[in-house]
Each structure stands twice: as C-alpha cells, then as structure tokens.
C-alpha cells in the first residue's frame, strides 16, 4: 500500500462519515463495504461523491465511468483514483 493510497482511503472515509454516515449511526463501514447495498448513499449522494472525487483529485470522470465498480465502496474509489492517476 502506498502513502497516496492510504491518503485516499482516509480522505474518502472522512468525506463519507461527515456527509452520509451521520444518518446511519448503526453502520460500521469497512473499506470494502458496498455503499448502495447498505443504503448509505442515495442517488444524489452518489453524484455528490463523484463530484467530490473529481474536484479533490483533479481528475475528469466520464459518464461511463460512474459505476458501482468504480464508486461502490471506499476500496473501489481508491483503486479508481489510482488507475486514473497512473493513466494521466
């Protein structure tokens, strides 16, 4: 695990806890846990999450990339950002 990788995880966890988990105090979110299956993030929340990733990491995201594979969990986002950075 690189430092960048752990920063992304930490950033994303902080963002999700601050913005979505206040509604779900019953959930202990693991890095691999599925946001949608747990009902933590709704459709507009998902859009907000994509926009956050876009602006925080300065990457551009195409509509076809907005999938559960890329944004469905903290782990998925971390991998997605790393791939985008590597490809840049």
């Amino acid at each position: 695990m690189t430092d960048g990788n752990s920063d992304i995880r930490k950033d994303m966890r902080g963002f999700i806890e601050e913005n979505f988990l206040y509604l779900r105090p019953d959930v202990e979110l693991g890095d691999g846990d599925d946001f949608l299956a747990l009902g933590i993030i709704d459709s507009l929340g998902f859009v907000e999450l994509v926009e956050e990733v876009q602006s925080r990491y300065g990457i551009s995201i195409d509509d076809v990339e907005i999938t559960e594979d890329n944004f469905g969990s903290i782990e998925a986002i971390t991998g997605f950002v790393e791939r985008k950075r590597a490809a840049a």
Binding site: E18, Y22, L23, S43, G45, F46, I66
Partner: protein
C-alpha cells in the same frame, strides 16, 4: 358537540371558542344552536344565497339541525326535483337542499350529491348525530369521542382543542404516517385521541356510542360507469357546475396541462371574464411563469402572479403549520398559502384548480416507473434504456445520474408487493425517520405505517392491474392528506378561499376508471385522453408539455442569507428535547450540512422540512394553553336555543 344525555348541557362559551378557532374558514359570520345536551356552531364563507343561507339550519318538520361546510354543486337540479314533488324551500341555499334530502331519503341521498362537503346532521328525537365527508375528502372533518361518550367534532382539530374538552398531544403513529406517506392516514391524525373521517366516510353517534362507521363511497377500478360518456361534455359540465356561486370565481394556473385545461373551459363558460392566479419563484429551477403567462395570454384571462422568495417561505411557515395541523415533508404548501392570501386581497373567495387529473389520468412519473419496473422483470436492458431516456438528469441542478438511481428505481421492494408502486417514495421519505430518537424509532419506526396500509387494501385490489393499484394508492394515500388537505383546503381556507376541483367530480372519476389503460398511459405518453381534449383548447406546446413537478425551495429559505433567527432556535437541542421526537446529535449532522450549503439532495430537503415542521407544528398546536383559544365576541347571525325547554321536558 353532543353529550350522551339530554340533561348535560353544552356550554355556549365552548361553542364560541370553537367558532373563533376556525373563523378563518368562515370569516363572514357564524351561527350557533343549543339543544338539550347538544351544541352546534358554524362559521360561514358566504358563496351561495348571500343574504340567507346561515347555519345551523333547523328543519321545521322535526327540529333536525344541520351544520355543513362546502358545496353541493347540483343543488339546483336536486331542488327542482324536490319542488316538483311538492317540497317548498325557504332559502336558495344548497344547505337546505341537503337537509331536505337527508330527511326524505336518509343517507341514500349522499349518492346523489355532487360536491365537496363535510356536515353534521343532528336528529334530536333520536339523539343521533351523523357526520359525513365527501367522496375524495376535499373538506376536512375531525372528531374525538370522550370517555363519558361525548362526541366533539369540527372541521379542523383546533376546533376540538378550543372546546376545552380535548388536549393536543402528538400521535407518534400519525406522525410516522407523514414520514412514510406524506400525511396521516385517516382515521388517524397527528394528534392522540383525535380522529378524522376518511374520504367518503360517515359516522353515526347515538346516545354516547358510535353505532356505525363506514365508507359510503370508495374509488374502484375496472368496471366504471362512465365509459360511454364524452369527456369534453363531462369536463365542461363539471366546470360549469363548479362555477356556480353568487360571488366571482377565479382559477389557479400552474402553467401545466391540467390547470390550463380547466382555465380554458372556465373561460369559455364565463365568456371571457376569468381571472387567473399563479405562483412564481425567484429561483428559476422552480419557476413556471413563462408557461403561465403564455396560457393566460392565449386564453385572454386577467392574470395575477405572486412571487414567492425564500424569505417569504420562511416567514409564512409557522402559520402554515398552524393551519395544516400536520408536519410536512415539503415546503410546497407555503407558496399556495401566500397565493390564497393574494386571491383574498383581490376580493375573490373561490378558485377552481386542476387537482386530481394526474391521479385519474395517470400523469405522475410514478405510473411510468411502474411500467419500467414491470419491463425490468423480463427485459432489464430495455428497462434501463427507457429510464435513461426518461430521466436523463437527476435533481434540480441537472446532475449526472449514477447507478444508485437506476438501482433505487428498479430494485426497491419486491415485484410482488401490493405497495410496489409506492415503495420508492416511502423509502425516500423514510430518510426523515433516521433522525428519530431511539425510543421513538422503537415505538413507530421501520415499516409499521406501510404494514398497516397493506392490511387496509380494499376488496378487489388484487384483481386490479398494477397501474390501477398504483392509482388507488395515489388517490388513497397522497391525494387527500397531502394534496387536498395540507397543500389544498388548509392553506386556502386559512384565508377564507375555497378551492374547487372539476377533475374530482365523481362522474369524471367513473369515466377515467373505466377508460382502457392506453387512453391514460400509452407507453410513456401520459394523460392521453386529456391531451386530446386539450388539443382543441390550448396552444400545442402546453398540450404536449411534460409535467413539471410543483416544488418549492426547501433548505435555502432556512439556511440561506435571509434565513430568520427562529430556525436555529426551533432546531436547538433544547427545543428538540421539548418535542422528544428527534435525536439532537443526528439533527446536528444535518444542520452542519445545511449551514455549509451541502444539503442539496431531495432526501436532505425532506429531512430538514420534516424536522423543522414537526418542531413548529408542536410549538403552534401542542404547546399552547387554553388561552390560545379566546371566544368569539361578535354577535351570531343565527342563534337557536332549545336547551332550556327540552332539558326541562326531559327532567319532567
């Protein structure tokens, strides 16, 4: 108010407080009747037979008394029919027609009444009181049965509180209905011990006991009685009847198909004198003014626009809650409250509107979602493509859609669930419940409200199509408690303005229910029959305009630059502790997002409005004492006092 025994008097002071509590519904005057162990009071919004028509109305034959709110539109035809049989009338009011019909035909007469009404019929000889509410529940009617058998009733719950016999305490299950279905499901209200008659419901009380309680009308599908009718003729007649009044009648114009169609028919009927009223918003995401003005120009109406800004919405919200008597999940009733205020300021007291068309002719997106979900059962690829085409963007800012949205719309609930069409709304609304205190969640949270609804589905429901079931659910769960009450009657009558709804003529319902489904929703084309009718009456762009849901800003009025100070006070931990419904820590998380301008989602908007409106509803109605309801001090226009003679007679 009626008491079990004739010897127990009803205090006139209580009736005067009740009258004052709902004088906004009847600002033109009031009347009261005292009988042995019974007292009736009525406030009047004078629309038909202005010089006479005062209530309570007493029968000369048998002493029966009637207090009645609303209108029976076909009273002229019914009067002619009764007159032909030899009946003589003292007034030209519809109230007298209703009383005569009840005396002659009993409750069978209800089926012949075309209108919107709630009334109480007192038959002293039998010590029997009958309460009746119109088919769709346009007019409200509340009651409370006390331990000693006394029945206290009134149009609004605050009349009951003003009586001094009923206290205002929250009913958590009623509140939970609001955060599931958007309104309390009758007979439940948001107040413990207070019930409301369901739409099309009646209740008979005799000598301290409720002896009958049933629906005299319910919406049914499949085998309606209007299939052969002509929609142009039917709608024309419905509008014509609803323009009957001895005062001018205006129209609400949203800029969409339904209200435009009603306005067009009214303008034809009135010969060019129609005045139309619209809500406009400073925020262009909600504003429909260009469409409204285009319709008004095309129809040649005298048009009035009321602009609702965030500060106006925040300022009016506490008063709106006092009138709706229920917490809300949307701020949309507030601009309609402001609109009614302006209608009244323009000397109008009656408006017709397009309410009901989307329920009868399947105009809401909810019906299209039913079609897409059914398609998803056997062709998921096509279902997703349709959804893409149908909802290209999300939310107010035109944000990109993501997988959560598709999954939410296509996969919420089981396909076999009878409430399937409504689970996405219930699920989204249930966001508000995440803020309940743990003890409230333990008592009423989860799916209790939906489970109750599943147990109350009507006979025949299983035999209806999925779309017909969706229509029944929409009429039964959203139309009355939210659209007709919180967003309709309550905010209009707050200013003494009566709304009339031509689509909710039972003949139009019967027609729509018996139409082949494709005449309502054909693929993704909605309100097919209505659009065809409108093609001859309105500009093409209005006829083909897709529905724009009517909404108002939800977070900005309370956290934007013009937000009033009381918002933070009402949501403070101390205020939340007083209401004992909301968890202060979780609410704190939401408020943080609101203050940072991040709470832009539909669910967060609902959560904020739900929590804030509950706080205000509690402050306005549950935290007030007896002095909140002073007595009426003006002279009554009618005063009937039989209490002394009858009590003495009974004692003897």
């Amino acid at each position: 108010m009626v008491r079990p025994q004739g010897g127990q008097p009803v205090a006139e002071a209580a009736l005067l407080r009740m009258a004052r509590a709902i004088r906004h519904r009847g600002p033109d005057g009031y009347g009261l009747a005292l009988d042995a162990g019974a007292g009736l009071v009525s406030t009047r919004l004078a629309i038909v037979d202005l010089p006479c028509g005062w209530q309570p109305l007493a029968s000369e034959d048998n002493g029966d008394l009637l207090v009645y709110n609303g209108e029976v539109y076909n009273h002229i035809e019914l009067r002619d029919e009764l007159a032909a049989r030899g009946e003589r009338f003292e007034t030209s009011s519809d109230t007298e027609v209703v009383l005569r019909m009840l005396e002659r035909e009993g409750l069978d007469a209800l089926h012949r009444l075309n209108g919107q009404f709630a009334f109480a019929w007192w038959q002293p000889a039998r010590r029997r009181l009958t309460l009746v509410r119109d088919r769709f529940g346009v007019r409200p009617l509340h009651h409370a049965l006390l331990d000693d058998g006394t029945l206290v009733f009134g149009s609004e719950a605050k009349a009951l509180f003003a009586s001094g016999e009923v206290s205002a305490r929250p009913d958590l299950a009623g509140i939970d209905d609001v955060f599931t279905l958007w309104g309390p499901r009758p007979p439940r209200t948001t107040f413990a011990g207070v019930e409301q008659l369901p739409p099309g419901g009646l209740l008979v009380w005799e000598r301290g006991r409720i002896t009958e309680q049933r629906r005299w009308w319910t919406p049914t599908y499949g085998a309606g009685d209007g299939a052969g009718a002509d929609l142009r003729e039917l709608m024309g007649d419905s509008v014509r009847l609803r323009l009957r009044a001895d005062v001018p009648v205006g129209a609400y114009l949203s800029g969409g198909l339904d209200s435009s169609l009603i306005s067009a028919l009214a303008q034809i009927e009135k010969g060019g004198e129609l005045r139309t009223f619209s809500i406009a918003f400073k925020d262009p995401r909600y504003d429909e003014r260009a469409h409204q003005e285009a319709v008004a120009r095309s129809l040649g109406t005298k048009h009035h626009v009321v602009e609702a800004g965030p500060a106006d919405i925040a300022r009016a919200l506490p008063a709106v809650l006092r009138h709706t008597e229920t917490p809300l999940v949307r701020t949309a009733p507030v601009p309609l409250f402001l609109l009614a205020e302006q209608v009244r300021a323009n000397d109008l007291t009656v408006v017709i509107t397009g309410e009901g068309a989307d329920e009868l002719f399947w105009g809401y997106d909810l019906f299209k979602e039913v079609v897409v979900r059914e398609l998803n059962q056997h062709d998921p690829h096509r279902a997703r493509a349709l959804l893409e085409e149908f909802y290209p963007y999300l939310g107010e800012g035109g944000a990109r859609r993501g997988p959560a949205f598709t999954r939410f719309l296509l996969e919420t609930g089981s396909p076999d669930d009878p409430l399937g069409s409504h689970l996405t709304r219930a699920e989204a609304t249930a966001t508000v419940k995440a803020f309940y205190r743990p003890e409230v969640a333990a008592e009423v949270g989860g799916t209790a409200s939906l489970d109750r609804l599943r147990g109350e589905l009507p006979r025949g429901f299983d035999g209806w199509s999925t779309l017909e079931r969706a229509a029944w659910l929409e009429v039964s769960t959203l139309l009355e408690p939210y659209l007709l009450a919180a967003q309709g009657d309550r905010v209009a009558m707050a200013h003494g303005v009566e709304g009339r709804f031509p689509f909710l003529d039972h003949r139009v319902f019967g027609y729509s229910a018996s139409l082949p489904p494709e005449r309502k929703l054909d693929g993704m084309r909605d309100k097919v029959a209505l659009r065809e009718l409108a093609a001859d009456l309105l500009p093409e762009d209005i006829v083909e305009r897709p529905k724009q849901p009517y909404r108002a800003p939800e977070v900005v009025p309370f956290f934007g630059p013009e937000a009033p100070e009381w918002v933070e006070e009402s949501l403070s931990p101390a205020a939340l502790a007083k209401t004992s419904i909301w968890d202060a820590e979780r609410v704190g998380g939401l408020l943080k997002r609101c203050r940072a301008g991040r709470a832009t989602g539909v669910r967060e908007g609902m959560a904020l409005v739900g929590i804030l409106s509950t706080q205000l509803w509690h402050e306005e109605l549950c935290e007030t004492g007896a002095d909140a309801y002073p007595p009426e001090t003006s002279e009554p226009r009618v005063r009937i006092d039989r209490s002394a003679s009858r009590s003495a007679g009974e004692a003897a």
